[in-house]
Structure formats: structure tokens, C-alpha cells
């Protein structure tokens, strides 16, 4: 039998349907791969017993003719989704040992559709980061290596999810994206990542970072897999008041392979000063592929692009400072307290011990920009600029169907690089943050290799709730780019 971990989600689905193997066999193959690649630290918690139990239940369900859309398919779940009875840490010390009494809506949807959970994937603490080096549970290592062979970051914050999929330790994984946390790690690990429109997937039961930006999405091996998995994750949920009351389309049906006459926008402001030659070329190649497929390429302008990062690094910390106020050492999580301590002492000690450096920095920046005297100058100003950015996209989408741009300004960098200066790390998000601020869907897919042999991704940004166009164009780009390279760091 061929190695079952090499399959795509779609192939595994079809093989299960034909009875070529069982979900238990598929799941066991992935559990073995997880063991073999533990050095990558992609998972915080492995749940092998639960996985086998779910796989057995799935095989029994299939035998009765009740297969769901994700029936029997083993996946990784980012450890930001609350999973009933299974430790959920958000990669933070403060939530160590936390076992939710409830299931997030997205994981509930996936499990109801038959998906099997292999474990909880590592991430940056509270999803704050672009390198997966801020996890309390250790760095994730990218399965790809450059020519020097040193350990590289997988990107972040969904770094464990991306590494797990790239190293065949899961057929697919859930991610969440606040400013690029699905798309940037997908690009660094050579996989596909889709951030849906804000409101497409319920946020209920996902540990909150910045509630006006957070959105769950699939991280997969192919564009088709992303379409399949999104169809299972998405849908209206009365428990999330910002969840869109809309029907979920058949995303897989959008992959017609035909983009003739479609208009692809190229935003000139994304061609930033100092853009590496290989990123520029990757982008030009992508443009040529879409043109060859019959699309019309149109220049568009998103004039407020250069202000997106500044806006994001006010809005996101402000929301985080409010969301993370709940970690008080009282109701769940770590408590640090000495005899005679006041309530304030307990709060301050628990939060100092429980939160890592970057999380503390963001809480404090957020507290500052919301504090009396600074609210208007920083927070309110950022919200107004956010509207300008939103309007830029609305104007561009008056003439084009989707926008093509690079996902990240570089390939994966070495662990330890870009540390020590928070702002330098933030620059990794320069191309992903604008679509996040505007709430738009964004799909990253690998289309080429860097001179160091590392994967590079392009992203397609779509109109609100038009994931179908993004997937359709993404499918064509994927076929033309024919990216078949595999991670170089897995042998031996």
C-alpha cells in the first residue's frame, strides 16, 4: 500500500469512499508520522486514543451509509480552538491544563461531518506572532531547510498547523488568521491556507485575540482540499453575533478551471521599496500564468496600504488588551498568590507569570492606546484609517474580480532572526494585514521556490463572501505553477 500520509484530503476522501482503506488505517498512518517527526514540535498535545476512537466511530458510521463531508479524515486542530475535555492552551502558560467543558463551533462542525482529531497544534502564544517562537511550549521547526541546513521558523501564528500539514503529520489543519496567521505560515511551509471572509466561520469557542479581525480557516495541501474543508467549517452560528446568516455554497463546485475573461487586479502599492528580486519575479510569473489562462490583468491602486501595519498594531493590541483581561487567575488558568496578597497582587502576579513577553507588550500597548488622553490620538485615528483601507478595496473591487499579490516579503527565516525588535517581526505581515483589516477572504498557495530552495506563496484577495472566485482563480494558478517540491528537512 502507498504511504497514506502522502494523500491529499480529496484523495483520502475518495479512497475511503471506495473502501480502499479504513479511517483507522488512515489515522494510524498519521499517528506514526507524528511520532517520527516529533522533533518539529508541531503539536502541543497529541490525542492518539481519541483519534483512534473517533476513527472507529467513523468507520462504523460509514458502514451504515452515513458518511459526512469530512468522514474519517484525520486533521490537526490549532490549539486556539476549545475542544471539549482536551487541554486547550493557546500556547500560553496561563492556560496550561485548561480543559474546556464545551466544543468550539468550528471543531463541532468538523467532527459532526466526520473529521478525526489527531491533536492540538502549536502556535504563537495567543496567536500573537509571525514565527511561532513565542509559544510557551517551544518553537515549531519548519520541515523545510535552506542550503545551510539550519532550523527555520514555520511562520505564525498557525505554525504548528502549517508544519503538521507540510510534514504529512495531518491531512489538513485548522488555522486562525488575525493579521496573516493562516496565509504567512502557509507560504513559509509550502502549503495552501485560506482566510475566509470575516463572519464566514463562527468565532464561538476560539480563544479570542482581536475579535474584529479573528477568523478561522483551513490549511491544506491543495486548493481543492481548502474548498472541501471550508465547506465543513463554515456556516451561521447564533452563538457568534458577527457570524453571517448566509448559506454555505458548494466551494468545491467553484473549481471549474475556467477564468477566461476574469479581471485580476495588481495593486501597485504592494511593490514596496526593497522587495527582493525573487518575490518580484514570483509575482510577475503568477501574473503571466493567469494571463495565459485567459484572465485580464488590470492595475489597481490601494493608496492606504502603507498605513495598514500601523493601523493593525493599534487595533489588534487594543482588542487584545480587552479580551485578555479575562485571565485573572480566578475562573481558569494559572494563579500565583502568596500569603496576605490582595486581589490586585494576585491578578498582577498571575498575569506576569502566565503571559510571555510579546503578549505582555501587546496588552500594554493596547491599554495605552485605549487610555484616557490617548484614545482619540491612537485608537480612534486607527479606526478611521481602517475605514480608508476598507474603502480602497471596495473601490478596487468595482473593477476587478480578485487581487493577486505576494503573501510575504520573504521565505522562511532562521529561528532567532528578527527577534529583539518587535517592529522588525511585525513587517512580515505587510502583505497580509490589509485584507484582514478589510475583512476580506485571502488564499495563499505555493507557486515557486526561493534561491535557497524554500517555498514562496502568492495570495489572492477576494470580495466579501466571494471565496468561490478566490478558489477558482487559485485552482488555475495552482495548476499552472505545478508546485511539486517537498520539504527538504524530512529525510533521515
Amino acid at each position: 500500500m502507498t504511504d497514506l500520509t502522502n494523500l491529499t484530503l480529496a484523495e483520502a476522501r475518495d479512497g475511503l469512499a471506495k473502501g480502499e482503506y479504513s479511517s483507522v488505517e488512515l489515522t494510524e498512518a498519521h499517528l506514526k508520522s507524528m511520532e517520527a517527526h516529533r522533533n518539529l514540535n508541531a503539536y502541543i498535545t497529541e490525542t492518539p486514543e481519541k483519534a483512534i476512537e473517533m476513527a472507529k466511530a467513523s468507520d462504523a458510521k460509514r458502514a451504515k451509509g452515513e458518511a459526512g463531508k469530512m468522514e474519517g479524515l484525520p486533521i490537526a486542530v490549532k490549539d486556539l480552538f476549545c475542544t471539549e475535555g482536551v487541554q486547550t492552551t493557546a500556547a500560553s502558560h496561563i492556560l496550561e491544563g485548561f480543559k474546556p467543558e464545551y466544543e468550539s463551533t468550528v471543531t463541532r462542525n468538523l467532527f459532526d461531518n466526520g473529521a478525526v482529531m489527531l491533536g492540538k497544534a502549536n502556535l504563537d502564544e495567543f496567536a500573537m506572532g509571525s514565527s511561532n517562537t513565542s509559544s510557551y511550549y517551544g518553537n515549531v521547526i519548519n520541515p523545510w531547510k535552506d542550503k545551510s541546513g539550519k532550523d527555520l521558523v514555520p511562520g505564525g501564528s498557525s505554525g504548528g498547523s502549517a508544519a503538521a500539514v507540510a510534514a504529512n503529520m495531518a491531512l489538513a489543519a485548522t488555522g486562525t488568521d488575525t493579521g496573516g496567521s493562516i496565509r504567512q505560515p502557509a507560504s513559509y511551509c509550502g502549503i495552501v491556507g485560506l482566510k475566509p471572509t470575516y463572519g464566514r466561520c463562527s468565532r464561538w469557542g476560539i480563544v479570542a485575540f482581536a475579535s474584529s479581525l479573528d477568523q478561522a480557516g483551513p490549511m491544506t495541501k491543495t486548493v481543492r482540499d481548502a474548498a472541501i474543508m471550508l465547506g465543513s467549517m463554515a456556516g451561521h452560528d447564533a452563538k457568534d453575533s458577527t457570524s453571517a446568516p448566509m448559506a454555505v455554497p458548494d466551494f468545491e463546485a467553484a473549481l471549474t478551471g475556467d477564468i477566461r475573461g476574469m479581471k485580476i487586479g495588481i495593486p501597485k502599492e504592494y511593490r514596496v521599496d526593497g522587495m527582493p528580486e525573487e518575490i518580484s519575479k514570483l509575482w510577475d510569473d503568477g501574473v503571466a500564468m493567469l494571463r495565459d489562462a485567459g484572465a485580464e490583468v488590470v492595475d489597481v491602486s490601494l493608496p492606504h496600504t502603507k498605513y495598514a501595519l500601523g493601523t493593525y498594531y493599534i487595533v489588534a493590541p487594543a482588542e487584545a488588551s480587552s479580551n485578555l483581561a479575562r485571565y485573572d487567575g480566578l475562573r481558569y488558568g494559572q494563579r500565583v498568590m502568596d500569603d496576605g496578597d490582595s486581589l490586585d497582587d494576585m491578578y498582577m502576579k498571575s498575569r506576569a507569570a502566565g503571559f510571555g513577553k510579546e503578549v505582555q507588550r501587546r496588552i500594554m500597548i493596547g491599554t495605552y492606546v485605549l487610555s484616557a488622553g490617548y484614545y482619540d490620538a491612537y485608537y480612534n485615528k486607527a479606526l478611521k484609517v481602517r475605514r480608508r483601507i476598507y474603502e480602497d478595496f471596495a473601490n478596487a473591487f468595482g473593477t476587478v474580480d480578485t487581487i493577486l499579490a505576494p503573501t510575504a516579503p520573504s521565505a522562511a527565516f532562521a529561528i532567532g532572526e528578527n527577534e529583539g525588535d518587535p517592529v522588525k517581526m511585525y513587517l512580515n505581515d505587510v502583505f497580509t494585514v490589509p485584507a484582514s483589516l478589510a475583512g476580506l477572504p485571502g488564499l495563499s498557495l505555493p507557486t515557486g521556490l526561493s534561491s535557497e530552495g524554500l517555498p514562496l506563496g502568492l495570495q489572492l484577495i477576494g470580495k466579501p463572501f466571494d471565496e468561490e472566485t478566490v478558489l477558482r482563480v487559485g485552482g488555475v494558478l495552482e495548476g499552472a505553477a505545478n508546485f511539486t517540491a517537498k520539504p527538504s528537512g524530512l529525510e533521515g
Partner: protein, 96 residues
């Protein structure tokens, strides 16, 4: 305009309810100042007549009936608490 001194950081740390050591305050003052310098460029954007964008979700917040939909889950609510007693969360003494 945005250089933070140690005293300001001490105040922010208290508002955030995070204990920070004396050396920590100096380091944070540097880090936070770097971040504020970085976002300073927003000041040059013309936002005349522009409403703040608080949500991209283009919908009116839905209303639901004001009724009890769950309850009797005291054990579940308390199951992750660091300290409980007689079915309650335990906090340090707050009243003298």
C-alpha cells in the same frame, strides 16, 4: 510625542494588572516607544469626515428572546478554577 518614560510604563503595567520589575520597566519603555514610533505615521493620513470603522461585518446585530437557555452546570463552570469552596470561586479577602 510618543517617547514613554518609566513612570508612564509603570502606570500602564498597573492598568494592565501585570507585575513588572524595575529593569523590566526600562526595557518595556524602549519596546513600547519603538512600537509607538512605528504607528506614528498614521498621523499624516487625512481622515476628515471619515467615520471610525469598528466592524467590517455589514449587519445589524441580531436580537434574541431574553430567556434562559442553559443552567444547572455549576460543576462545569467551576471545573477549571484554581481554587473553589462550597460551589464558589475563591478570591483573596477584599473587604476588611
Amino acid at each position: 510625542m510618543s517617547s514613554l518614560d518609566k513612570e508612564t510604563v509603570r502606570r500602564i503595567a498597573y492598568l494592565s494588572r501585570i507585575n513588572v520589575s524595575e529593569e523590566g520597566l526600562s526595557e518595556l519603555a524602549g519596546d513600547l516607544t519603538r512600537i509607538l514610533d512605528f504607528v506614528e505615521e498614521l498621523q499624516e493620513v487625512d481622515v476628515e469626515g471619515c467615520d471610525p470603522l469598528t466592524s467590517v461585518a455589514d449587519l445589524t446585530l441580531p436580537l434574541r428572546k431574553d430567556e434562559v437557555t442553559d443552567g444547572n452546570i455549576q460543576q462545569k463552570v467551576l471545573s477549571n478554577a484554581p481554587m473553589t469552596d462550597a460551589g464558589c470561586f475563591v478570591v483573596p479577602k477584599v473587604v476588611e
